[in-house]
Amino acid sequence: AQRVTQPEKLLSVFKGAPVELKCNYSYSGSPELFWYVQYSRQRLQLLLRHISRESIKGFTADLNKGETSFHLKKPFAQEEDSAMYYCALSRGYGQNFVFGPGTRLSVLP
C-alpha cells in the first residue's frame, strides 16, 4: 500500500532563512510525487510535481528514490510562503492521490 509521511506538523522559520519541508513515501513501484499548497482561505493548489523538475515561487523538490523522499526546499523564506503544505503520491497516470498529513509553515517577520 502507498503511504506518505510528513514528520513535522508545524515548521516555523524566520524570513530569509532556508526552509525544508520533509516528505517520505512508501511505494514499491515508480510513483509520481507532488507538492500541494493551501494558503489561508484558499483552495488546495498544485505547487510542483517532480516530473516537471521546475521551480515554482522559489521552491524546488528532488525525488530521492533511494531514501524514498521528496523534500521541499526554498533557500530564502518569505512571509507569503506561510501556508499548509501537503505532499502527495500518485501511482501513475490517472491514478488517485495519496496525501500526507500536511505541514504548516509559518514564516516569522
Binding site: R43, Q45, L46, Q95, N96, F97, P101
Partner: protein, 113 residues
C-alpha cells in the same frame, strides 16, 4: 473559467440522515475525484468517476456512493450519516488523457450532529 465549483459550502445534518454534495469540474475536464479531509489531516481519496462510471475507490464503506452526469459534473452521496463523517469534502477534476494534475474545489464542510 470559475474552476472547480462545489455546493453547498456548508451543511449540517444529524446522525442517520443522508446527504448529497455536488461538484462541477473545471472546463475541459472529464474526470472527477472526491476526497474526505478530516480536521488536521490530509485529504483521503474516496472515489474517482470517469465516463459516468466509478473507476477507482478508496477505503470507504458502501454508504459512500457517487454519480457522474453526461456533462461531467458529479455528486457524492453519503447514507446513514455518522458523527465521524464530519469533514471537509473536496472535489478535484482532471483531464484523463492529459496531465494527471488535479485541480481542487473549495470544498463542502459537512457537520454531523
Amino acid at each position: 473559467d470559475a474552476g472547480v465549483t462545489q455546493s453547498p459550502t456548508h451543511l449540517i445534518k444529524t446522525r442517520g440522515q443522508q446527504v448529497t454534495l455536488r461538484c462541477s469540474p473545471k472546463s475541459g475536464h472529464d474526470t472527477v475525484s472526491w476526497y474526505q479531509q478530516a480536521l488536521g489531516q490530509g485529504p483521503q481519496f474516496i472515489f474517482q468517476y470517469y465516463e459516468e462510471e466509478e473507476r477507482q475507490r478508496g477505503n470507504f464503506p458502501d454508504r459512500f456512493s457517487g454519480h457522474q452526469f453526461p456533462n461531467y459534473s458529479s455528486e457524492l452521496n453519503v447514507n446513514a450519516l455518522l458523527l465521524g463523517d464530519s469533514a471537509l469534502y473536496l472535489c478535484a477534476s482532471s483531464y484523463r488523457t492529459g496531465t494527471d494534475t488535479q485541480y481542487f474545489g473549495p470544498g463542502t464542510r459537512l457537520t454531523v450532529l
